[in-house]
């Protein structure tokens, strides 16, 4: 059985890779993909910690998994709305460069 710190280390690496993507890419869709990567890194850490807490009963362990389930649903809603905004922006400006989108309007 793999100890929990290994999972946390992988999760931290995934999270930082995602943050590099958010900081360095200019296409909005690439920024979105990097955000998805960061969300999944957080999920991995939560599930690993949930298994760690399973010694204190089944309910704490499954609470972590329930939290990840709710995060998944929120991520789905976020992607739907975010991509809708992206398409609306592209319709008006033909570009999705985040460095050029400095106004709060479509």
């Amino acid at each position: 059985m793999v100890p929990t710190p290994y999972y946390i280390a992988v999760s931290a690496l995934l999270m930082t890779i995602g943050s590099v993507g958010v900081l360095t890419r200019r296409s909005a869709i690439m920024v979105f993909l990097s955000v998805e990567l960061m969300l999944n890194a957080a999920n991995l850490a939560i599930v690993a910690f949930a298994r760690q807490w399973s010694a204190s009963g089944v309910e704490p362990a499954l609470s972590g998994q329930a939290a990840v389930f709710i995060i998944l649903a929120i991520a789905a809603a976020e992607v739907a709305v975010g991509l809708g905004i992206l398409v609306a922006i592209f319709r008006n400006r033909v570009s999705t460069d985040v460095d050029e989108l400095s106004e709060v309007r479509l």
């Binding site: 931290a12 890779i17 298994r51 329930a66 389930f69 991520a75 319709r91």
Partner: protein, 184 residues
């Protein structure tokens, strides 16, 4: 352990691919590889229901949505460097420091985690167990997620049909950015 190393390598290489590939389609497929490896990792962590949900919702629905939008926008690989010249090296350096810091703390901190000796006791993560908890202890959060999803549907639909749907499509390519907003 060997299985975990393979899974971690797939996840990390997939993540690097997401950040470095020029073509958005390649980056999206690289993210699919990461998500599938993550689903297998969930199985090793006794979260079987989450593994299934990960494949169905993330690798299935969300990534298909991404690929549709990439095709719809028809974005190509060209992407200039960031405006801020120092952004790229600063991002790499900061990420390196943060990742090394978290990993070091995770390994060096020797305070015993609760019940570290009997961690393997968990035999669960089935849909029945997680569902029972969701519908009893976390039923409020579950309902709120339902409201959030409904709001998301309404928002996405209203964004998609902004403007007059009966009007002819405006010409692509030379669309003036200063066009007046038409509220639908």
């Amino acid at each position: 352990m060997i299985g975990f190393v393979i899974l971690a390598l797939v996840m990390l290489l997939g993540g690097v691919g997401v950040v470095t590939f020029r073509q958005p389609v390649h980056a999206a497929l690289s993210l699919v590889a990461t998500l599938l490896a993550l689903a297998v990792t969930y199985v090793t962590l006794q979260a079987h229901f989450l593994a299934a949900i990960q494949v169905i919702v993330y690798a299935g629905a969300i990534m298909v949505l991404f690929l549709f939008v990439i095709m719809l926008l028809n974005v190509q690989g060209q992407e200039p460097a960031p405006h801020l010249r120092w952004m790229r090296p600063a991002a790499y350096a900061g990420a390196l420091v943060v990742a090394a810091g978290i990993a070091t703390i995770a390994f060096i901190d020797r305070r015993p985690l609760p019940g570290a000796d009997q961690v393997a006791a968990l035999q669960g993560g089935s849909a029945e167990q997680v569902g029972t908890l969701l519908f009893s202890h976390y039923v409020l959060a579950f309902q709120l997620v339902g409201v959030l999803l409904l709001t998301g549907i309404v928002g996405a639909v209203s964004l998609a049909q902004r403007g007059n749907p009966a009007a002819p499509a405006e010409p692509r390519g030379e669309a003036a950015p200063e066009r007046e907003l038409t509220h639908g």
